[in-house]
Amino acid sequence: MYRSRNRPKRGGENEVKGPNSALTQFLREEGISAENIKQKWYQRQSKKQEDATDEKKGKAEDDSFTAEISRVVEDEEIDEIGTGSGTETERAQVSYDARMKLVPADSDEEEYETSHISDTPVSLSSANDRESLTKKRQNTAKIIQNRRRKRKRAADLLDRRVNKVSSLQSLCITKISENISKWQKEADESSKLVFNKLRDVLGGVSTANLNNLAKALSKNRALNDHTLQLFLKTDLKRLTFSDCSKISFDGYKTLAIFSPHLTELSLQMCGQLNHESLLYIAEKLPNLKSLNLDGPFLINEDTWEKFFVIMKGRLEEFHISNTHRFTDKSLSNLLINCGSTLVSLGLSRLDSISNYALLPQYLVNDEFHSLCIEYPFNEEDVNDEIIINLLGQIGRTLRKLVLNGCIDLTDSMIINGLTAFIPEKCPLEVLSLEESDQITTDSLSYFFSKVELNNLIECSFRRCLQLGDMAIIELLLNGARDSLRSLNLNSLKELTKEAFVALACPNLTYLDLGFVRCVDDSVIQMLGEQNPNLTVIDVFGDNLVTEKATMRPGLTLIGRQSDSI
C-alpha cells in the first residue's frame, strides 16, 4: 500500500523492519506502487479519449504533467460521485437551504467552538448501494492519493527540491544526521562515547561532505557540544556552522583546541559564545583571518576590544550581525587595530552603532573588496555622505556592495558615489540595495548607462519601491546582461510588462518577481523562452500567474497559488 513520506516522522518509521525488504521500503517511501502505475495507465487511456477536449491542456510538459492528470481525474470523480449519490445530496441541499435562513449572525472576534457538534449520520446501508459504495471507496482512495501527491509536490517546491532524485551521498548524509538526532533524543548519557567512536568511523569522509553533514545537523537542530566532536579534525581549514545556538561556550573552546589550523570560521546564531570562548578562539587559532559571527550578543565592549587587539594585523575579513553590544567603541577598536588589513567588512543589524562615519578613514587596504552595511538602527546614521566618502576610498576595487535596509540613501549616493567612484570597467560582482525606497529610476538609469558592469553576478533591488521600467531596461542594456545570474525585483510595483521584454540573460538562473503585480502567464512564458538557464522564478503574491502558465522544462515557479490550492 502507498505510504506518504509527508507524514510526521516518528521514531523508526523509515527503518527497514518486519517482513518488508529494503526494496519494498524504498518503493514505499518514494511513492511507487503497482497500483499507482496501473492508475497512471488508466489515466493515460482516458486522457487519450478526451484528447479533443483537452487539447489546450495537452501543451503542458513534463513538470506540470502530474498536475494535469490529477485535474482530469478529479473532474471525472466529481461527475461519478454526483450521479452515484444524487438524491442524498439533493435532500441535504434542501434541508441546508431551509436551515440556512435560521443561522444567526456570528462575530468574527469571538473564538468559535468546535466542541459541541452533533452530526447526524447518514444511513448508507441499503443493499443495492453496496456496489456503488465499493466503487466510491476506490475513487476516494484515488482522490486522496492525488491530493497526497499534490501536497508532496508543494512541499518539494518549498524545499527548492527541483531535481527529483537526490544523490546517494546526500541521502547518506541525511540518514546519518537523522540517526544522530535520534540517538541524542534517546540516550543522553552514553552519547558522548558514541560520538567519539563515530568520529573514527567517519574519519574518511571528505571535507565537502563534512560540511554537508554540518548543514544537515544544523537543519535538524542537532548540532551541540557532542556532535561538534565530529568536526574536530586537525587539518580543517574552514568551517561553517549555520545554527550554533546549542553549542555552549565549552564547545567553542574544544573546537579551538582540536582544529588549530582554521583560517576561516563562520558561526551563525552563536548565542552562547561568551567572552572567554571568543578570546580563546582568538588565541588558539593563530591562522584565523576570516570571522563571520551572527548573533554573538553576549560579548560586550571590553571583550571586543581585547579581541581586536589580539587579532591585530591578521584579521582580513570580519562580518558581524545581530548584536546590540557591538558599540561605536567596538567599531573604532576594530578599525584602529585591524582597519589596514581588512578587505571585507560586514555590519548588519547592529543596534548600538551610529557612528558609521568612522569607516572611510580607516578602510584603506588597496584590496578591499566586500562591504556590507545592512539595517542600521537609525536610518539617518548611514547617509549619502558616508557612503560617498566610503566609495571614494574603496570604490575602485569593490567587488561586493550590499547596502540593504539603508533607507536614508538617495539618488545622490548613486550619482555622486557609485557613478563617480566606480571605474568604468568595474569589478563589481554583487550589488544589493534592498529597501532603499528613495532611490529612483533616473539615478539608476544614469548609473547603468555610465558604468559597465561586466562582472555583475548578483543584483537585488527588492523593495526599492520607486524603481520603474527604465532602470531595469537600462541594467539589461548594460554589460551586466551577460554575466547576471541572480536578479531580485521583489515588490517593484511600478514595473510593467515592458521591463520584461528586455529581460533576456543567457546566464540568469534565479529571478524573484514576488509582488510584481504585472507579472502574468504571458510574462512567465516569455521569460522562460528568453532565458535559457533560468531555473527558478519566485512569484509570491503575483495573483495573475495561474496554472495555465506555459513553462519551459526545467523552469520552476515557486509561490504560485494554484500549485497548492
Binding site: 441535504a92 443561522v103 538526532s181 544544523s218 537543519k219 509582488f515 497559488q561
Partner: protein, 790 residues
C-alpha cells in the same frame, strides 16, 4: 449643590440623627452642623492658627487637632462662605504643599501677608454676598475637595509625604533558596529579596512588573520556596499559563511543593481535599465562576442554588495573580472574586500593568488593599470605607451624606487631574503622586536595564508594508466609501457616540478586508445561498471524503485517518491526534458525517471556502507565505510564531500554509489545558513543525516558545502592549537565536493609521511605567485626552 444638600438633610433628619450624634462624639465638635456668624467672624483667627498648624505639620509631623476642626466648621458651615474662602484655602494648600516639599521658612514669611490680605477681601465679600463672588479667581473643585478631605481625614495629609520619605529601593541580593534546581540570575535574586522584604512591610505584597521573559514565575517560585512553612498559596493564572506554572514548579523544586490544580470539571468541592497542598493553581475564569455560584447562585430546574466556594473559604497565606491585568476592570466579577479571597499577602505579577488607562492601575491597588488609596472618603465627615455603599442610591450607609460628597482617594489625587489636564499643572502633580506610590509597591526591571544579566538576544521589530493588488484595492475602496458614508451620517446627526459599536464594526470590517476578503464576504449572515459548506479533512486539507470525527472533535477523511493510525503500528501508545496532539481516540468504522448546518456555523471559515480550486489568496497571506519560505533553507531550521486576532484569519492561514507544505500547529481559545500543553510540546520537540499559529488573545500571554525565533503579527492591534507581549513569547531567557518581529501592514488601508495610533499609545505607556522623564514631554495633553476618553 448647597441647597440640595440642605434639603436632603432635612428630609432625612429623623433617620440621620443618630449618625450625627456619632459624628459629634467622634469629632468632639459640638458645633459641627450649626452655622453661625460667630464662626465667620472667627475666620481670621482660624486661618492664622491654621497657618501655624500647617507649619507644625510640616516640621513635627504631628496630627492636627481642635484648631483644625474649627476651620472645618468654617468651611462646611455655610456654602456661601465656603466658596468665598476657597481662595484662601487654595492658597493655603499650595503654600502648605510647598512647605512640605521644599522649605518651610521662606514660604511662610513670604506668603503670610498676601494671605491676610486675601482673607480680608474675602471677609468683605462675604458681607456683600453673592454679587461679588464671581470676581474672585475661580477655585478648582479639586482643591476644594482636597482641603475638605484633609479636614475630616487628617491622616491623609501625610500620605504622599510619607511615601516620598520612604527609603528608596536598594537592590540587594538574597541567597539562592535551598531546593531550587535552577540557578537564579543576579537580578532575580534581587527580586527575591524585594519580594521577601515587601511581604514583611506594611503593604504585605505588591506588584512585580518585570518585563516579559525576565522570569517573574521563577522569582515567585523562589518566594514560595523561601519559607515552606508559609503556605498555602493560591496562584491565579490565565488558562494558557496554568500548565506552565505546574510544570515549572515541578521542574524547579524537585517536587517539594505539593500542587493542586483547581480547574476542570473534576475539581473538588470539599475544602478538606485542599488541605496539605502547598500551592493551589487556578484560573481567573474558575475563580470567577465559583465566586458567582457562591454569591449569586445558579439556576437549575428547581430554583436557585448557591454553592459555597472552596477557594473563598480557605485562609490562604498568599494569593498571587499572574498576568494581573486580567482584573484591570475593577467592576468585573473577576476582580470582585479576587478581592474577596481571604489572604494575608497579596501579589500581582504583570509585565504590562498598564494597558490602556491609568485607571487600570487602580484595580491592582484595590486588590493589594493599600490604604488609603482604595478607600472612599466623605468630604463632610470622617467617614471612610472600602466599599461604595449607597443602598438608597443617594446616601452613604455609614454617614448619610450624599454621593457627591464622597470621593475616592485614588481618583481624587491621582486620576482625575490627569484626565482633565494631561501631564501639566495639577495633572503633573497627580502623575508624580502615582509614580511615588508605584515606587513603593512595584518593582519593575526592564530587559534593557538588565541586559548583561539576562544575556538576551537583540530584538528587532520591523514593519513589512505591502500594497493591495487591483482586485483587493477595488473591494477595499468600495467598503471604505461605504463605511465613510455611514460614519459621516452619524457625524451629521451628532450620534457618533451612540453608534460607537456600529462604527467599531465598520472599522473591524475594514481591518478584516485587509487580511483577506473572505473574512468579510464569507461571514455567515451574508452567506450567498449557492455556496455549500463542506467538511474539511484536517489531514489532507481538502474536502473530506467520508468524513469521520475523532473524540476530540476533529474531522478527517476515513482513509486519511486510517492510514495515519496504521502508521503507528507498533507503538499505539504514542498515537496522538494530528491536530491537537492529545491521545487519539476515533472509531474508524463510524458512519460518515453529513454536513450539518447547526454545527456548521461554528465551524472554521475554511469549510465555507470555494474548494474547487478557484480560491484566491490575499496579499497579506501571500506575504506571510513568502516570508516563511525565505526562512527555509537546507542548513538551518528557523521556527516562527504567527499571531492574528481574527481566528478566521488563522484558520485561513493555517489551511494555506498546510496546503503549501508547511507543518503547523495552532493554539486556539477553545482548547483544554492538556490540549494546549500537548500542542506546545509538539511544536517544541518536532523539528519539522515550523509554524505556530496563535490568536493574539489566546496566546498573547504566558507562553514560553523559545524554540521559535521569529514572530509574525498579521494585523496591528489597537493596544501595542498586546503586541509587545506576543513578541516576548520568544524573547526570553533561554533564547539564543536573534529574534525578529515582523508586523504586516497593508499600506493603503486602515492598518497604516492603526500603527500610527499605536506609536502614540506606546509613548504614554513608557511615560508611566518605565518612569522615563523624557517620555513625558513627548506626551501632549491631546494624546491623553485621546486615550482616556474612549
Amino acid at each position: 449643590m448647597q441647597e440640595g444638600g440642605f434639603i436632603r438633610r432635612r428630609r432625612t433628619r429623623s433617620t440621620k440623627k443618630s449618625v450625627n450624634y456619632n459624628e459629634l462624639s467622634d469629632d468632639d465638635t459640638a458645633v459641627k452642623n450649626s452655622k453661625t456668624l460667630q464662626l465667620k467672624g472667627n475666620s481670621e483667627n482660624v486661618n492664622d492658627s491654621q497657618d501655624e498648624e500647617y507649619r507644625d505639620d510640616a516640621t513635627l509631623v504631628k496630627s492636627p487637632d481642635d484648631d483644625d476642626k474649627d476651620f472645618i466648621i468654617d468651611l462646611t458651615g455655610s456654602d456661601k462662605e465656603r466658596t468665598a474662602t476657597d481662595e484662601n484655602t487654595h492658597a493655603i494648600k499650595n503654600d502648605n504643599d510647598e512647605i512640605i516639599e521644599i522649605k518651610e521658612e521662606r514660604d511662610v514669611s513670604d506668603d503670610d501677608e498676601p494671605l491676610t490680605k486675601k482673607r480680608k477681601t474675602t471677609a468683605r465679600k462675604k458681607k456683600k454676598k453673592t454679587s461679588t463672588k464671581k470676581k474672585s479667581p475661580k477655585v478648582t473643585p479639586y482643591e476644594r475637595n482636597t482641603l475638605r478631605l484633609y479636614e475630616h481625614h487628617p491622616e491623609l495629609r501625610n500620605v504622599f509625604t510619607d511615601l516620598k520619605n520612604a527609603p528608596p529601593y536598594v537592590p540587594q541580593r538574597s541567597k539562592q533558596p535551598d531546593g531550587m534546581t535552577i540557578k537564579l540570575l543576579p537580578f532575580q535574586l534581587e527580586g527575591l529579596h524585594w519580594l521577601i522584604s515587601q511581604e514583611e512591610s506594611i503593604y504585605a505584597g505588591g506588584v512585580l512588573a518585570d518585563e516579559m521573559g525576565m522570569g517573574k514565575t521563577i522569582q515567585t517560585i523562589a518566594l514560595l520556596m523561601n519559607d515552606l512553612t508559609k503556605s498555602p498559596s493560591l496562584v491565579v493564572a490565565p488558562t494558557v499559563a496554568l500548565m506552565q506554572w505546574k510544570n515549572e514548579i515541578e521542574q524547579h523544586t524537585k517536587g517539594q511543593l505539593k500542587i493542586y490544580i483547581y480547574h476542570g470539571a473534576s475539581r473538588t468541592t470539599d475544602i478538606k481535599d485542599l488541605q496539605g497542598y502547598d500551592v493551589v493553581l487556578t484560573t481567573y475564569a474558575v475563580l470567577e465562576s465559583v465566586f458567582r455560584k457562591q454569591n449569586y447562585g445558579f439556576r437549575r430546574k428547581n430554583g436557585l442554588f448557591k454553592q459555597p466556594s472552596v477557594l473563598h473559604n480557605i485562609d490562604f497565606y498568599r494569593v498571587i495573580l499572574d498576568e494581573a491585568h486580567n482584573i484591570k476592570d475593577r467592576q468585573s466579577n473577576t476582580a470582585r472574586a479576587v478581592n474577596n479571597l481571604k489572604t494575608q499577602k497579596r501579589w500581582c505579577l504583570s509585565g504590562t500593568p498598564l494597558q490602556n488607562r491609568i485607571g487600570e492601575m487602580y484595580s491592582l491597588i484595590r486588590f493589594l488593599n493599600i490604604n488609603p488609596f482604595t478607600k472612599y472618603f466623605c468630604t463632610k465627615c470622617d467617614c471612610a470605607s472600602k466599599d461604595w455603599k449607597f443602598t438608597d442610591r443617594m446616601h452613604c450607609d455609614h454617614c448619610s451624606h450624599v454621593i457627591m460628597q464622597h470621593t475616592n482617594f485614588f481618583n481624587h489625587f491621582m486620576l482625575k487631574n490627569i484626565q482633565k489636564f494631561g501631564v501639566e499643572g495639577p495633572g503633573l502633580e497627580s502623575f508624580n503622586n502615582i509614580q511615588t506610590l508605584l515606587k513603593n509597591i512595584m518593582l519593575r526591571r526592564t530587559k534593557v536595564e538588565r541586559a548583561d544579566d539576562l544575556g538576551l538576544p537583540p530584538r528587532i521589530v520591523t514593519v513589512r508594508r505591502d500594497f493591495f493588488n487591483e482586485e483587493e484595492k477595488d473591494l477595499y475602496r468600495s467598503l471604505y466609501t461605504d463605511s465613510k458614508r455611514k460614519y459621516n451620517s452619524f457625524v451629521e446627526e451628532g450620534v457618533v457616540l451612540n453608534n460607537y459599536a456600529n462604527i467599531f464594526t465598520l472599522i473591524t470590517r475594514m481591518r478584516q478586508l485587509a487580511d483577506h476578503p473572505d473574512l468579510v464576504l464569507k461571514r455567515l449572515n451574508n452567506f450567498p445561498g449557492d455556496d455549500i459548506g463542506v467538511v474539511i479533512c484536517q489531514l489532507c486539507n481538502d474536502e473530506a471524503e467520508e468524513p469521520i470525527e475523532s473524540k476530540c472533535h476533529h474531522k478527517f477523511c476515513r482513509l486519511c485517518i486510517k492510514e495515519y493510525v496504521e502508521s503507528f503500528m507498533e507503538n499505539n501508545n504514542k498515537l496522538t491526534c494530528p491536530v491537537c496532539h492529545i491521545g487519539l481516540s476515533i472509531d474508524l468504522s463510524q458512519p460518515a458525517l453529513e454536513v450539518d448546518l447547526d454545527s456548521f456555523k461554528k465551524q472554521s471559515i475554511v469549510s465555507r471556502l470555494n474548494m474547487s480550486g478557484k480560491w484566491q489568496s490575499s496579499t497579506k497571506i501571500e506575504a506571510l507565505v513568502e516570508e516563511l519560505y525565505k526562512l527555509r533553507s537546507n542548513k538551518r531550521t528557523i521556527k516562527s510564531i504567527v499571531f492574528s486576532q481574527f481566528t478566521s484569519m488563522l484558520d485561513l492561514v493555517e489551511w494555506r500554509l498546510k496546503r503549501a507544505g508547511f507543518q503547523t500547529v495552532k493554539l486556539q481559545g477553545s482548547m483544554s489545558p492538556t490540549q494546549r500543553d500537548e500542542t506546545i510540546k509538539y511544536f517544541m520537540n518536532n523539528i519539522q513543525c515550523e509554524v505556530f499559529l496563535v490568536s493574539l488573545k489566546a496566546g498573547g500571554v504566558a507562553l514560553n516558545l523559545c524554540e521559535a525565533s521569529q514572530v509574525f503579527i498579521l494585523d496591528p492591534w489597537w493596544n501595542p502592549s498586546v503586541e509587545w507581549q506576543s513578541g516576548d513569547r520568544v524573547h526570553r531567557i533561554g533564547q539564543y537565536r536573534p529574534v525578529k518581529i515582523t508586523r504586516f501592514c497593508i499600506e493603503d488601508s486602515i492598518e497604516a493609521r492603526i500603527i500610527e495610533l499605536q506609536e502614540k499609545k506606546a509613548n504614554m505607556i513608557h511615560a508611566t511605567i518605565n518612569q522615563d522623564e523624557a517620555a513625558i514631554s513627548r506626551l501632549t495633553p491631546a494624546d491623553l485626552q485621546f486615550l482616556f476618553n474612549n
